[in-house]
C-alpha cells in the first residue's frame, strides 16, 4: 500500500516537472506554427532584406530590419550604460568595500531590478526625455536615447550582482599572492581577480544583453512606434517587443496577416535570446566544473 502511494506521488511530481518541457515545446510550436503561415504569404528573403516594416498601413512592407535596428539601438545604449557602471560596482564591492557596506548596498541595488518595467517607462518618458531636451532641444519626445539610458539603469544590478558573485568566489590565495608581490588592489583586481572570474562576468553580460533585447514596456512607452532603419538615437523608432504590444493593443483579427506578424517578430526575438541563453548556460556549466 505504502509503495503504491509513493509511486503515485512520484508520478504526479514527474508530471509537474514535465510541464516545464511542455512550456518550451508550446512556445516553439506556437511561434513556428504561426510563423510558417506568415512565411507562406511573405517571402523570407523580403522579410530579411526589405528596409520597411509597415504591416498596419495600406502599402504593406514586411522587412524586419527596422525593428531589429530599433532593438539593437536601445539594447546597445543600455549595455553602454550598464556595463562600465555595473562592472565598476562589482569590482568595488568585491575588492574595496567594507563587508558591512557590501551587505547593505547589494540588496538595495537589486531593488532596481525589482521595480516594474512600466515604472521605468514613466521615468524615461516623463523625467529623462524632458531633462535631455533641456540639453539637446531637437530631441524627439519619443527616442531611443532615453529608453536606452533608463533600461541601462534597470539592468545594472544584473551585471553587478552576478559579476560580484563571480569575483567573490575567486580564492583568497590568488589575491594574497598578488599583494605579496607588491601589487596594489587595482592591479590585483584587473590582472588577477577579473581574469580568474572572467567566465562569470561574461555570463552576466550575456544575460544583461538578453534581458535588454527582450525588454518591452520601457521601449513601448518611451521609444515610439515608428519602425525606422536608423542608428540615430534622437528620433522615434520601434523595437520588436514594442511592435508586438502595439498590435496587441489594437483590434487585430485572429488569423489575419497582421495577427501573424507578431509571431514572426516573436520568433525572431526568441531565436536571439535563445542563442544568448544557451551560450551563457554553456559557459556557466564549464565554469562550475573548473572550481569543483
Amino acid at each position: 500500500m505504502r509503495k503504491f502511494r509513493e509511486g503515485i506521488i512520484e508520478k504526479s511530481l514527474f508530471t509537474s516537472a514535465l510541464i516545464t518541457v511542455a512550456i518550451t515545446i508550446g512556445i516553439v510550436s506556437v511561434l513556428a506554427f504561426e510563423a510558417v503561415r506568415f512565411f507562406k504569404e511573405v517571402s523570407i528573403f523580403d522579410f530579411f532584406t526589405d528596409t520597411q516594416w509597415t504591416p498596419l498601413f495600406t502599402d504593406k512592407h514586411y522587412g524586419i530590419l527596422p525593428l531589429l535596428s530599433g532593438t539593437f539601438l536601445t539594447s546597445a545604449i543600455a549595455i553602454a550604460v550598464a556595463l562600465p557602471i555595473g562592472l565598476s560596482i562589482s569590482i568595488y564591492l568585491s575588492e574595496y568595500a567594507p563587508k558591512s557596506f557590501r551587505k547593505t548596498v547589494k540588496p538595495m541595488l537589486e531593488l532596481l531590478a525589482a521595480i516594474p518595467t512600466v515604472v521605468y517607462g514613466f521615468f524615461a518618458l516623463i523625467i529623462v526625455t524632458p531633462f535631455l531636451q533641456g540639453i539637446y532641444p531637437s530631441l524627439s519626445g519619443f527616442n531611443s536615447l532615453s529608453a536606452g539610458l533608463v533600461m541601462g539603469i534597470m539592468i545594472i544590478p544584473f551585471i553587478s550582482s552576478i559579476s560580484e558573485d563571480a569575483l567573490h568566489a575567486v580564492p583568497r590565495e590568488l589575491r594574497e599572492a598578488s599583494y605579496g608581490m607588491g601589487a596594489t588592489k587595482l592591479q590585483t583586481a584587473f590582472k588577477v581577480v577579473v581574469p580568474a572570474a572572467s567566465s562569470g562576468i561574461i555570463v552576466s553580460i550575456i544575460l544583461a544583453i538578453s534581458r535588454a533585447i527582450g525588454e518591452t514596456m520601457i521601449v513601448a512607452v518611451a521609444a515610439g512606434q515608428q519602425p525606422r532603419l536608423t542608428l540615430d538615437p534622437t528620433v522615434p523608432i520601434e523595437t520588436i517587443t514594442a511592435y508586438i504590444v502595439q498590435v496587441s493593443l489594437g483590434d487585430v483579427q485572429h488569423g489575419s496577416i497582421e495577427y501573424r506578424t507578431i509571431f514572426a517578430a516573436g520568433i525572431t526575438l526568441f531565436t536571439f535570446t535563445f542563442i544568448l541563453n544557451t551560450i551563457s548556460y554553456r559557459i556557466r556549466k564549464k565554469y562550475q566544473a573548473n572550481y569543483e
Binding site: I115, L125, I262, N277
Partner: protein, 284 residues
C-alpha cells in the same frame, strides 16, 4: 612621481570611481521615486482607490485595476506554487542523473531567460484561442504562472539543497519512506527559502505588463471581475494607459498609481528578504 606613487594614486582614483558608480544607481533610484512622489502623492485618497475608471482624470480611480491585480495574484499563486514546488521536488529528490535530467535542467535555465512577451504570445494562442478562455483573468493567470514557474523551481531547489543531510539520514533511520521524509522533514526545513522565492516571483508577476497586454487584458474595464472567466485590467496596464495620454491629469494619475504599485512590490520584497534572513540564520 615614481611608479609606485602613480600606482597608489590610480588605486585611490578607482576607489572613488567605484563609490561614485555605486552611489549613482542609488541616487537615481531616490531621484526617480522622489519625483513620482511629488507628482502623485497629492492625488492619492480613498476615492482614488475605490473609484471606477472614467474619461475624466480627476474622477478616475484604480478600483477595477487593483481588483484585477488581486485576482491575478491569487490565481497565479494557486496555480504556480504547487506545480513549481512539485517540479522542484522531483528534480531534486527523484530524478536520476542522466541525459533526461540534464535536458530538464537546460530547459528550465533557458525558460528563465525567455522574454516575458513571448509567454504572452504562448498564452494568446494556447489559453485564449485554443482553450477558448478568452481574454479572461484565468488566461492571464495561467500565462503568468508559466512565466514564474522557472523562478519558483530554481528557488525551491536551492533551499532544498541547503537542508543538512543529517536530517534526511535521521528520518530514514527512523523508518520513514522517501515521501514521508520529504513531506515531514525536507519541505518544512526549507520552507523559509521556498517562501522567499515564491514571494519574489509573485512580486514580479504583479509588475508584469507586456504578457497580459498580449493576452488581451484591457486598459478599460467598467467593473471589477467577479469570476475567473471575466475580462480584466491590472495596475501596470492602467498605468501604461494613463502614461500614453497627453493630458496632465492622467500623468498625475499614473504617478499616483505607480506609488501604489511600488508600495506593493517593495512590501513583497521586504517580506521576502525578512524570511530569507530568518531562514538563513536557522542553519548557521
Amino acid at each position: 612621481m615614481n611608479k609606485i606613487q602613480i600606482n597608489r594614486w590610480k588605486d585611490q582614483l578607482f576607489k572613488i570611481w567605484g563609490i561614485a558608480c555605486t552611489l549613482i544607481g542609488l541616487i537615481l533610484l531616490v531621484v526617480f521615486i522622489g519625483d513620482i512622489l511629488i507628482d502623485g502623492i497629492m492625488r492619492i485618497d480613498w476615492g482614488f482607490i475605490t473609484d471606477l475608471p472614467s474619461r475624466k482624470a480627476e474622477k478616475s480611480g484604480i478600483y477595477t485595476a487593483l481588483m484585477g491585480s488581486i485576482w491575478i495574484l491569487g490565481l497565479t499563486t494557486i496555480i504556480a506554487f504547487p506545480v513549481g514546488v512539485a517540479a522542484a521536488v522531483y528534480l531534486e529528490e527523484y530524478a536520476e542523473k542522466g541525459r533526461f535530467s540534464a535536458l530538464l535542467e537546460i530547459n528550465i535555465s533557458n525558460l528563465a531567460g525567455v522574454p516575458s512577451i513571448i509567454y504572452g504570445l504562448l498564452g494568446l494562442e494556447v489559453f485564449v484561442r485554443i482553450l477558448h478562455l478568452g481574454a479572461s483573468v484565468l488566461a492571464g493567470s495561467l500565462t503568468l504562472s508559466l512565466l514564474i514557474l522557472p523562478i519558483i523551481i530554481v528557488a525551491t531547489r536551492e533551499s532544498m539543497k541547503a537542508v543538512p543531510s543529517t536530517i534526511r539520514d535521521a528520518s530514514y533511520a527512523l523508518g520513514a519512506s522517501k515521501w514521508q521524509t520529504i513531506w515531514n522533514q525536507i519541505l518544512p526545513a526549507s520552507s523559509g527559502g521556498i517562501l522567499t522565492g515564491v514571494i519574489l516571483s509573485l512580486s514580479r508577476a504583479v509588475g508584469e505588463t507586456a504578457p497580459l497586454i498580449v493576452v488581451g487584458a484591457l486598459a478599460y474595464v467598467p467593473f471589477a471581475p467577479s469570476n475567473p472567466l471575466e475580462e480584466f485590467s491590472v495596475l501596470p496596464i492602467q498605468i501604461f494607459n494613463w502614461i500614453s495620454r497627453p493630458q496632465h491629469g492622467f500623468i498625475e494619475n499614473a504617478a499616483a498609481a505607480i506609488i501604489i504599485l511600488l508600495l506593493v512590490t517593495f512590501m513583497m520584497n521586504g517580506v521576502a528578504v525578512y524570511y530569507r534572513n530568518k531562514w538563513q540564520k536557522k542553519w548557521k
